[in-house]
Amino acid sequence: MVSPLVPPLEKVTAGGQRYRRPADIESAIAAALELDPAIRLARASADPAATERLASEVVVHLIRRAYRQGDLETHGALLGALLRRCSAALDHSVRGDRFPDAEEIRSEILSRFAEGFAVDAAGDPQHRLDFFEIRFNAAFARLRLDVTRSEARRRRHLVPLPEGASAQNDDDPRSLPPKVFSRPANQEKQLRGVELRRAIDALPPDERDVIILSRILGYPIESDDPSKMTVAKHCGVSPRTVRNRLTRALAKLARTLDTGDSP
């Protein structure tokens, strides 16, 4: 049920379909609009652990709404609160051990995010901020990826190959114990996921690509069906080369995760 207090999003797909917020976000926005403005601001600025803290999707809506209503004081206060929230998250999502100029990258991401609000305020015909009212974390992650991707790729070739990595190993990786991709439960799984992510990010680009395509996304290495996308096709190499890369990558990941080293 759409609240009459909450206007629909304006962004429309190329196919003419209007973007819609999830129902829980719509309800949270409607509830936030019922609050006293001072309480609303306090909840937007609340500690991360606070249960009454407003979802980022809701805060984005309130910021845009305040601007459109000419309430610049509220707009500035809410935008400041959201920027502090995102800035804090960037402290650990853009890590100094991976990016020597991490602080510069964090600032670039946050400034681009803030500038998105300026573009929106000036009347962005693409309504790009609409997506931040649907799935904020994913939208912000994409923005972060845009900035970090080029930096990561520029640096990845500098990562030295660990000792023992053989370019001539023709073992079929499908026969290797899938230890690094086992599925431990809950918290342990999350922590293992973070370690695995770091280890994958430290791989050379060609090995990283085959690991992600084959083991995480589940693309086949090759296929008899010419219309089917495969790892070999995406990487522009033979299936044998894909298997070699996969073997090397799995061996490195197993070593890294077994020793508990964080690359």
Binding site: P48, Y67, E115, A139, Q190, L217, G218, M229
Partner: protein
């Protein structure tokens, strides 16, 4: 915000909505809708898939550091500069550009 090409933006939005745990089938479904952006969609999917590995642990909010506060102030200044550039003047001297909705 991440691209100026509207159809690419649509494609990346569709990909994001297909997550957070993407697989080849979901990615290729988006590629079939936006074949002109096939390579970019797959590359984005690869990055999103790795990002999702850490789950909530990798997105956990933290208390702002001193550096985070400074960064937020810098970003707020960037907002004002950009808005001034787009609207040719400080905002507080003009009415809002867009009507309330």
């Amino acid at each position: 915000m991440s691209t100026d090409d509207p159809t690419l933006q649509d494609a990346l939005d569709a990909l994001t909505l297909a997550g957070p745990h993407l697989d080849a089938e979901a990615v290729e479904a988006v590629v079939r809708r936006f074949p002109e952006h096939a390579r970019r969609i797959r590359e984005e999917a690869m990055d999103l898939a790795v990002l999702a590995l850490g789950g909530k642990a990798s997105m956990a909010p933290t208390t702002p550091s001193a550096a985070a506060e400074t960064r937020a102030e810098t970003a707020l200044a960037a907002f004002h500069r950009r808005l001034d550039a787009l609207t040719e003047g400080p905002k507080d001297r003009r009415p809002p550009l867009r009507a309330s909705r």
